[in-house]
Each structure stands twice: as structure tokens, then as C-alpha cells.
């Protein structure tokens, strides 16, 4: 090495290109790079963790778009989920004539539309295309297949609008109950109107991911049920309804009435099994006349007529005002009830017992029975049977009927009301009141809705039907037994209502219609028959009402045959076993049927804490076990004890004030000691 080199080394030591120096610097480079990488990781941490919420929110905002779901209207189905009203997917073809002409596509659009929509009228289409408008709806609707084809044809200026379209697959079946929707798809009549809140679909949004303008469904296709309205389940039985429709058609053909209604009720729960009216309509088409849409059974108030006699008799019996075997003098068909008014009977008679009064439908004797209880009690009883009160049936326009308060009643009006004139009620109200008698005196509000369910089948709404005791079971049974005579006895007014193999308890009614000019019209009648079959354990209550029939006008002639025909079919459909006809229907059944025992057991089954709310109310009774004897007279107490299968050991006289054991379970020896004291 030269001295020159040595000098360099001395001055430059350590040399820059020395291996150790190079390595040191390489390590520095590595350190710097690693530090930088660590810094980037820290930055990534800041973004991904610290500020995650901010960015996640931004992401959601741009990525997730709600996908709108077209609302669909809920279905209306009968009790067996047979569809009565459904939604259909149809489209309306809309054209933009201006755009089509501007693009010079007139011929193509015209040819395309005519070939795709065969129902289109070429002249109408030409007329629409010739107009200087940007939006013209073509007449008619197209279904999904045609709509798809139109869409795929890519015709300029042609659009498809999804249109709400309600279809009633069974046409006029239960049309008045189901109702229909108007052009905008909202309910207009019937349940469609009354339950629109439940039925109409809600525009719903489902999250979906957006990908450059197109929609990606994040978790599969959204469930269309989200936008669907609820499903309304009716109590209507399509089969019974169809029978009722047929029966009423026959009736209308025969008697040419102004209107007619049939109501079929299940007395055990108040469910309306069928409800048919004439005139009727097909909800699939616009209704030409408003009168057709009137649900006469619910909306029309008629003077119920003789049917009310059963109520009057039940009231008098329940109050103890009459005995079942009591006889009344029927004045040979003409009775000067007040100084100005005369009451007449169609069949003059002299002495009649209560059964015969009902069987022959004597106005005079019914008025006399009313005389035993008075105006106020009659009013209370009529109200108790839910006359003059809107039934909670949830059908639009349900009438309450007309019933003046008793203070306003004149003497003759009160007498009239006892046999169903001078007041009014809808056929449904009458059927429901009769059903209370058929159900051992327990009233259940008539209803047409079973429940409303959402798309998943959860019950959203259900009517709450509170059973309400109107009369004691024994009273109800007694009246019903009497009403069997209407159909079965020789003098009965409703012999046409007989059904082979079954006992029928029913009541005819022929009411004169009030004239527009005051008083009653001579030639206009409202004829009806309401009955319960089988009479001893009613399964159905059928009401047939005919408004102003041509020709014959008696309930027996007009309504009862329809009742019999329909009743027979319904009983067969419900598979009700026929009863033994050898039983004399006038007298109580033989040894096999112990009415008293039967009564107690049945009463215990149906009523707990339901007791007729009478003037001079008695203490509540426990039907099985030891009853409450407080406040009873000794005779009443003895009777009650006998019915309860107890031995009463009375002490003292007067009204029961104490008892041992107290009301509750039966003591082992079956004895009850009751202390009676004279009232103060």
C-alpha cells in the first residue's frame, strides 16, 4: 500500500464501504422499514378498530338500500280456511304516446302490443296512441305471463303498472259478509271494509345490498309476507253458506220478495255459520245498484213479529209471573185491550195454556201475559235479550233496531211489543236472541270473525265473546219445549218447518210492515221463521226472513219450508244423529231422560257465576255442592235443596239467614241446616 493510501485510511477510517459499516446501515434500513410497517399497522388499527363505527356507518349508508316490497292485501277465508277473497298479481299497461311518436316507434309498439295482448281493441289502441299525452292507461289488465312477455319485448314508451286486484274465487258466496274493495284497493263493504286495518298490506322495506346500481339480495329474497296484510278467518262455513245461498235462491224464485235473508248461528258459541241475503252481488265486478250491497240480515230493521212472544213468555216464566201450565182466556180472537185499541188473533180461541199460546201464536194471550209483568219489566227483558243495541258483529252498518224507552211506551205499544210489533230489530238480533233460548239461556254475541292471523299464523286479534246468562236453564228449556209445539202440534203455526227425524223448536212470525204513510200497510208483510234443531240439544239456529213476499205471506207458508229444507241439509252435513221420532214431542221425555238431573248438570257446566240479574236479586248459587240459601223463602230453599240433591233441615220461619255448612262442597251426610227468620 502506498503512503498515499495510508493517508486515506487514516483520515477516512472507518471506511464507508467497510463490511461492518454496510451491515450497520443495512440494519438501519431494516429498522426503518420495520418501524414504518409497524406505523402502518397502527394506522390500520386506528381505522379498523378505533374509528370502526364511523366507517361501518358510512359503509351501511352506501351499501344497504332498503328494497321496497309491494304490499299485498290479506286473505279472507272461511272457518276451514277456504279462500273467499285473495290478491292477484295483475298489471295495467301504460303507454307514453308522445315518446313513442318521438322515437318513431309507433308501428312497432302497435304491432307488439296487439300481438301480446289479444284482448286489446285495435281501434282503442290507435286512439290512445294518437293522443298527445305522456301517460295513457290502456283498458284491461294483463296477468303475469303476458306482463313478462311485454317486458321482454322492450317496447319503447310502454310500461307495466302493478295494480291491486282483488279476486273473490267464490263469486257471490257470502258476498255481504266478505264485501269488496273499491278501485284503490281499500275495503268498501263487509269485512273488507270493517277489517281494512288488518287486511291492507303495509309497504315494507327489506335490506338489500347495492352493487353499482343493481340490487343484490343480502339474505335471499325478502319474505313477501312482510308486506302482506293479515288473514281474516271467518266463522262462516262455506258448505253451509252454499246451502243457504241455494235455499234462498229457491225461496226468491218461489215468492219473489223484495228482500230475503238467512242467518245460521251456532248457539253454543254465537258463531255465524252462514249469512245470505237477496238481492246480492258478485264482488268481482262493479255493483250496478247500491241496494244489492245491503246486508239485510244485519243492516235492515224489521218489526220482528211473533218471534218476540217467545221472549215475553221466557221473561214471564223467569220472573215467576206465570206457570207453564197456566191457561189464559184468549177472547175468541178479539180483545178490546184499551179503550181505543183492539188486538186481534188470526186463529180465534178461548182458553189456551202457554204452550198453545205460542203454538197458535195468540197476540191477545201474549198481551195478557205481558200484563202480568208490566212495561218496565218487559222493557228490561227485551233489552236483556239485546234488542235496541248494536250487536258487536263487526259488519259495517249493523243496526241497533228501534226500541223506545219504556217511559215513552203507550199502553197499546207495550202490548204490541210483547208480540213483536212497535219495535224493530235486524234478523241477526232476532236470531241471536233466539239462540240464547236455545243455549240454555246464555246469550253469546253473534260474530262473524273467528280471528285475524298474521303471515306466520300468530293470532293478531280475536273477538272476546263473553257468555251472558239471561234466564235460568230451566226457563230456557221450558220455553224451547213449548216452541216444539209450534212445529209439532196439530194447531201449531209452523208445521211446514218439520224436519224428518228431528225435533224442531221454532217460531213463525208474520209482521205487518209499517207504511210510509203511518200505520201498517195492509198488503205488505214481513214473514220469518226462526228455529233451533235438534230441539233438545240445538246445534244450529236458523232464521229465514222474507220481506214482502208475493202471494202468500204467512211465515209458515213462506219461510218455514225453506227452514226445513235448509235445516235438513245442514243437519246431514253436520252429521247430527236423528232423534227417535216415537217420542211424543208434546210431553217431556221418558225415563231415559231425567230433565231435572240433566238440567242441573248442564247448568253447572255452562254457568259459573252467571245468574240472571233480576229485580229483587237473589244470592249467587253454586250449582254443584251446597248452594247459597241466603234470602230464599223456605219453599224456594226446599226446592233448591232437592235439585242439589241435599237434605234440608229447616229451623224457624221466614227468609233464610244462616246455613251450615256454608256454600261449597257437599258434606258427607248430605244435610244442610238452614236458619230462617221472619223478615224485619
Amino acid at each position: 500500500m502506498t503512503p498515499f493510501g495510508r493517508r486515506i485510511r487514516r483520515l477516512a477510517a472507518p471506511m464507508a464501504s467497510d463490511i461492518t459499516a454496510v451491515r450497520r446501515r443495512a440494519t438501519i434500513v431494516a429498522g426503518v422499514l420495520l418501524l414504518a410497517l409497524a406505523g402502518l399497522l397502527a394506522r390500520a388499527y386506528e381505522i379498523a378498530v378505533v374509528r370502526r363505527d364511523t366507517y361501518a356507518a358510512l359503509a351501511k349508508r352506501q351499501q344497504i338500500r332498503p328494497k321496497k316490497l309491494r304490499p299485498t292485501r290479506g286473505e279472507i277465508v272461511d272457518r276451514g280456511h277456504v279462500a273467499l277473497a285473495v290478491d292477484d298479481r295483475v298489471f295495467r299497461v301504460v303507454v307514453n304516446p308522445r315518446l313513442i311518436r318521438a322515437q318513431d316507434q309507433l308501428e312497432r309498439v302497435r304491432a307488439g302490443l296487439l300481438s301480446l295482448v289479444p284482448t286489446l281493441d285495435p281501434k282503442r289502441l290507435d286512439a290512445e296512441l294518437a293522443r298527445d299525452k305522456a301517460y295513457r292507461r290502456l283498458p284491461g289488465l294483463v296477468d303475469e305471463t303476458v306482463a313478462d312477455r311485454i317486458y321482454e319485448a322492450h317496447l319503447p314508451g310502454v310500461h307495466l303498472e302493478p295494480t291491486p286486484h282483488r279476486v273473490y274465487p267464490r263469486g257471490h258466496l257470502a258476498a255481504h259478509v266478505v264485501g269488496r274493495v273499491q278501485a284503490e284497493g281499500r275495503g268498501q263493504l263487509g269485512v273488507e271494509y270493517a277489517l281494512d286495518e288488518f287486511l291492507h298490506g303495509r309497504p315494507t322495506e327489506s335490506p338489500s345490498t347495492v352493487a353499482r346500481g343493481t340490487t343484490l339480495l343480502l339474505r335471499g329474497a325478502p319474505d313477501p309476507a312482510m308486506a302482506a296484510g293479515h288473514k281474516v278467518v271467518l266463522t262462516i262455513d262455506s258448505a253451509i253458506q252454499a246451502m243457504a245461498e241455494e235455499a234462498i235462491d229457491t225461496l226468491v224464485l218461489e215468492h219473489r220478495p223484495v228482500g230475503a235473508s238467512i242467518v245460521v248461528l251456532d248457539p253454543t258459541n254465537g258463531e255465524i255459520l252462514a249469512l245470505a241475503n237477496r238481492p246480492t252481488f258478485d264482488p268481482n265486478h262493479p255493483v250496478p245498484s247500491l241496494a244489492q250491497t245491503r246486508n239485510l240480515a244485519v243492516q235492515a230493521a224489521y218489526e220482528p213479529g211473533s218471534t218476540m212472544k217467545a221472549i215475553t213468555v221466557a221473561a214471564a216464566l223467569e220472573m215467576g209471573a206465570i206457570r207453564p201450565d197456566e191457561t189464559f182466556y184468549c177472547e175468541k180472537g178479539r180483545w178490546q185491550a184499551t179503550s181505543e185499541h183492539v188486538i186481534r188473533d188470526t186463529k180465534p180461541a178461548e182458553w189456551l195454556d202457554v204452550t198453545k199460546i205460542l203454538a197458535m201464536s195468540s197476540n191477545i194471550c201474549t198481551a195478557k201475559i205481558y200484563g202480568r209483568i208490566g212495561k218496565q219489566a218487559l222493557y228490561r227483558w227485551v233489552r236483556k235479550f239485546h234488542f235496541g243495541e248494536r250487536p258487536p258483529v263487526r259488519l259495517p252498518g249493523a243496526t241497533a233496531g228501534l226500541l223506545d224507552p219504556w217511559e215513552k211506551w203507550s199502553d197499546i205499544q207495550a202490548a204490541n211489543i210483547s208480540f213483536g210489533q212497535g219495535m224493530s230489530a235486524s234478523p241477526l238480533q232476532v236470531a241471536a236472541a233466539f239462540a240464547a233460548l236455545a243455549a240454555d239461556g246464555v246469550y253469546r254475541a253473534p260474530h262473524v270473525l273467528r280471528h285475524v292471523v298474521d303471515a306466520k299464523g300468530n293470532v293478531v286479534w280475536a273477538p272476546s265473546i263473553e257468555p251472558e246468562r239471561l234466564v235460568r236453564p230451566s226457563t230456557a228449556r221450558t220455553v224451547l219445549r213449548m216452541l216444539e209445539a209450534v212445529v209439532a202440534s196439530k194447531v201449531g203455526t209452523g208445521k211446514n218447518a218439520r224436519i224428518e227425524g228431528y225435533r224442531v223448536a221454532g217460531k213463525t212470525s208474520t209482521a205487518q210492515k209499517a207504511s210510509r204513510f203511518g200505520g201498517y200497510a195492509e198488503d205488505q208483510y214481513y214473514a220469518s221463521f226462526v228455529g233451533a234443531v235438534p230441539a233438545r240439544a240445538p246445534r244450529v239456529v236458523i232464521l229465514v226472513s222474507v220481506d214482502t213476499p208475493e202471494g202468500k205471506h204467512y211465515g209458515n207458508a213462506v219461510a218455514a219450508p225453506t227452514f226445513a229444507r235448509l235445516g235438513a241439509r245442514i243437519l246431514r252435513y253436520l252429521a247430527v244423529p236423528p232423534e227417535d221420532e216415537r217420542d211424543d214431542s208434546d210431553t217431556p221425555a221418558g225415563a231415559a231422560f231425567d230433565p231435572e238431573r240433566h238440567e242441573v248438570a248442564l247448568a253447572a257446566a255452562v254457568d259459573t257465576g252467571m245468574e240472571p240479574d233480576l229485580p229483587g236479586a237473589r244470592g249467587k248459587r253454586v250449582q254443584l255442592g251446597v248452594p247459597d240459601f241466603h234470602g230464599l223463602s223456605m219453599a224456594e230453599a226446599l226446592e233448591l235443596a232437592e235439585r242439589s240433591g241435599l237434605r234440608l233441615v229447616p229451623k224457624g220461619t221466614g227468609i233464610a239467614v244462616a246455613q251450615d255448612p256454608p256454600p261449597g262442597p257437599t258434606p258427607p251426610d248430605g244435610r244442610v241446616r238452614v236458619l230462617f227468620e221472619p223478615p224485619a
Binding site: A16, V29, Q63
Partner: protein, 435 residues
């Protein structure tokens, strides 16, 4: 510090010591064994860590490219696997290339560095006469393959500068013979790349040059001065070119659409991500999410954990690359390994900094992960080179860059086996250049 204007001619800067060269230890002797370039180091197996890191990143890249590009591939090409298949083909080719390159002696490149550099420069010039794509001329159509010469330029420059610096030795501190040639070559390359309107790669090349100069021991004054001299050019390039200026302004306002979308992607990923394939930003929100912005997709689908894994992979690659440099048998190997691993590191840094909104947008790919054939091939070949360096291979005959010269000077050296030479010189202290 005075710099020798004319240093000792070829002071055996590296490699096998010249046969029979006397130990030239004039200076004060030290007790510790003299440092060496590990000239005597035996050949070892290639570094498995580098292989693991590279192949791991490559595999993840394939998966992520598919995940990120499936939707756009379907939209544009009607085939979900369009990008994935192309990337997979290049990955296969690249792995073959990597293995092949790792088997050769890297020193071959030292000998042929000028030729390689020249070829790449020719390609860079050629690419200027191609059709413009997306406002830039970067691709050379070679049959079915689109070659991106600027990708090649990175590795070529690393090789050439390493060779040049290794040859210069201590001369690196001189301005005229050290700094100037380096900067001239680098400058020409950068200018050509810049003419392609690829500022990102240009800056990357600049950073690589500076790094290599620094490691080789140049005077920091030159580096600083050079950087300062280049700054106005860069500035004019940024401010003077509309779209770059827009990018800068967008960055300053932090309103760049792409970067914002990338942040949303990373941000909505959180710790563990939305799950593989569950990302939504790829549905047309984040453009180029399978190329430059693939890290955003990784962040979205694999979360911070995924990003951490990626960073770890690169860290392993860089560290093991520098370890290879540490144990390289010669100066060229050291410089080459430093250059290549820092090239990886720099690319990753720039790319991730862009995605994470730390620097304005640049067109830098993420090695191994981003979609792009040229980038993938070049990255894998560079890995092969690193592996070759880590192997400390015995020099091939072809490797001797001075062979022609030696042949001219000393007939005796003709045909001598360098390996044998090295063995003989093993006990001797390794040549310490001009110590």
C-alpha cells in the same frame, strides 16, 4: 473528508479473493478476526422463511384476488374466475421462475447487469411508442401477455446499481466516479418511467437508489443534495399534471373517492373482518380493489388480523432478505439483497400508506397480493434472487465479471475454478479492501 480522486484500481471489492494475492495489511492489526464477506461460507439451503412468506402471501393473494374480483369479472367479462384464472397462471409461472432463479448463481447477474439494464431501458423506450391505455403507456403487448417494463425496471435497476456499487467500493464516496454514474443511470431510468406517467414507480426507483447509496456508504451530502435537486422536478410533475394534482388535492381534502372507499372497507372490517367473500365494497364501490387496493378488501373481509398477517409476511420477507444480505458471500450479494428486500418493503409501505390514506394515491401494486401478471412475475423472480443470495452459492464460471479482463491480463487465471480458489484462501484473512 477528502475523497481519493483515484482509488486503488479494482481493490478486490468482493467475491473470491484473487489467487495468490498477498494479504495487504498495512494498517494497525486488530485482534478480532477480520470481517469478511463470508467468502468462505459454505453453500447452504435457501432460506425457508423467505419461501414460506412469499408462498403464503402468494396464496393469500390468489384467494383475495378471486374474492375481490369475482363480481367485477362477472360484470365486465361475464366470468367470475376471469381475473383469478389469469392470476393463477401467472402465479404458476412465477413460482417456476422463482425456483429457477433461486437455482442460478446471482453473480451471473452481476456480470450481465449492464446488458439487463440496457435491455430494460430499451423496453422502457419501446413502451413509449405504444398505444395509450388509461392515460398512460405502461404495457407492452407481447403476444398474449401484457408486459409492464416499469416493473422490470425496478429489479433491473436494483441489480445494476448493486453491481455498480459493488464495483465502486470505497469510490462510492466520490462524486464523480461514485455518485454521478449511479445517479446518471438511475436518472435515465426514472426519466423514462416518468415519461410513462408513472410517478409512483419513479419515486420508488428514486427511493431505491437513495437507499442503496446510503447502504453502500455514499456521502449523505450527495443524497440530500440530489433529493433537493429532484424535489422541484417532482413538484412540477405533481402540480403540473392535472390528474396528479387532483389526487394531491383530493388527499389534502381527504376526499379522494377511492381512498375513502378503501377506508370504509378497512373500517367496516374491524378486528376480524366480515368473513372471506363477505366484503361488499368490491360490489362496485371500491374500484381497482383487486389490484392496487387489494389491502382494503383484505381489511374488509379478514379484518385487522388479516392486515396484521400480511404485514407480518412482508416483515418476514424484508428481515430475512436483509439477513441474506448480512450473510451474503460478496458485496454484490449484500447490495442486491438489500436492494430487493427494501424494494419489497418500499412498495408495501407506499401501497399501504395510500390505502390507509397517509399519502396521496399512487399506482403502486402490493407485491404477491395485487392482481397483475408483470408485478407478480417480477416479485417472484426477485424472491428467487433473494433465495439465491441466501443460498450463498458457489460462483459459476459465468459469474466472474472480470473474467474477460482477467483473461486479457493474466492467462494463468484462465479456467481456474473460483470455488477451488476460495477453498484455498479460506484460512487466510479475507481481503479487506484498502483497509
Amino acid at each position: 473528508m477528502p475523497t481519493p480522486s483515484r482509488p486503488a484500481p479494482a481493490p478486490a471489492t468482493d467475491g473470491p479473493a484473487p489467487t495468490g494475492a498477498p494479504a495487504r495489511h498495512d494498517g494497525p492489526r486488530t485482534e478480532r478476526p477480520p470481517p469478511s464477506w463470508n467468502a468462505a461460507a459454505p453453500e447452504v439451503p435457501a432460506d425457508p422463511w423467505i419461501v414460506i412468506a412469499a408462498l403464503g402471501l402468494l396464496t393469500l393473494g390468489l384467494v383475495m384476488v378471486y374474492s375481490a374480483s369475482a363480481w367485477i369479472a362477472r360484470e365486465v367479462h361475464g366470468d367470475y374466475t376471469y381475473f383469478f384464472r389469469r392470476q393463477a397462471i401467472f402465479a404458476g409461472l412465477g413460482v417456476v421462475a422463482m425456483v429457477a432463479v433461486s437455482r442460478i448463481d446471482y453473480r451471473v447477474l452481476r456480470r450481465f447487469a449492464p446488458q439487463v439494464m440496457l435491455a430494460v431501458l430499451v423496453l422502457l423506450v419501446a413502451v413509449l411508442f405504444t398505444r395509450e391505455v388509461n392515460g398512460a403507456r405502461r404495457w407492452l403487448r407481447l403476444g398474449p401477455v401484457n408486459l409492464q417494463p416499469s416493473e422490470l425496471a425496478k429489479v433491473a435497476l436494483a441489480i445494476f446499481l448493486s453491481a455498480l456499487l459493488a464495483r465502486q467500493g470505497e469510490q462510492v464516496r466520490s462524486f464523480r466516479t461514485g455518485f454521478l454514474p449511479i445517479v446518471t443511470v438511475a436518472g435515465i431510468t426514472m426519466t423514462l418511467v416518468l415519461l410513462e406517467r408513472d410517478l409512483g414507480t419513479t419515486l420508488l426507483l428514486g427511493a431505491l437508489t437513495v437507499l442503496l447509496l446510503f447502504v453502500a456508504g455514499t456521502r449523505l451530502v450527495y443524497v440530500v443534495a440530489g433529493t433537493l435537486a429532484a424535489a422541484p422536478i417532482v413538484w412540477s410533475q405533481i402540480v403540473g399534471v392535472a390528474y396528479r394534482r387532483a389526487r394531491l388535492e383530493a388527499f389534502l381534502e381527504s376526499g379522494g373517492y377511492q381512498v375513502k372507499q378503501a377506508l370504509i372497507a378497512v373500517g367496516s372490517g374491524g378486528w376480524s373482518g366480515l368473513g372471506l367473500g363477505e366484503g361488499r365494497q368490491k360490489l362496485g364501490f371500491l374500484p381497482e380493489n383487486h389490484t392496487d387496493f387489494i389491502l382494503a378488501t383484505i381489511g374488509e373481509e379478514l379484518g385487522l388480523i388479516g392486515i396484521g398477517l400480511v404485514v407480518t409476511g412482508y416483515a418476514v420477507l424484508v428481515v430475512r432478505g436483509l439477513v441474506a444480505a448480512r450473510f451474503a458471500p460478496d458485496r454484490f450479494g449484500t447490495y442486491l439483497a438489500v436492494g430487493l428486500s427494501s424494494l419489497f418493503g418500499l412498495q408495501v409501505l407506499v401501497n399501504m400508506a395510500v390505502v390507509l390514506d397517509l399519502v396521496p394515491a399512487k399506482g403502486i401494486t402490493l407485491p404477491f397480493l395485487s392482481y397483475g401478471g408483470s408485478s407478480l412475475l417480477v416479485s417472484l423472480m426477485a424472491t428467487g434472487l433473494l433465495l439465491s443470495v441466501s443460498r450463498r452459492p458457489a460462483p459459476w464460471r459465468l459469474s466472474d465479471q472480470r473474467r474477460a479482463r482477467s483473461r486479457a491480463r493474466r492467462g494463468t487465471r484462465r479456467g481456474s475454478r473460483p470455488r477451488a480458489n476460495r477453498r484455498r484462501t479460506t484460512p487466510q484473512p479475507a481481503p479487506v479492501p484498502a483497509r
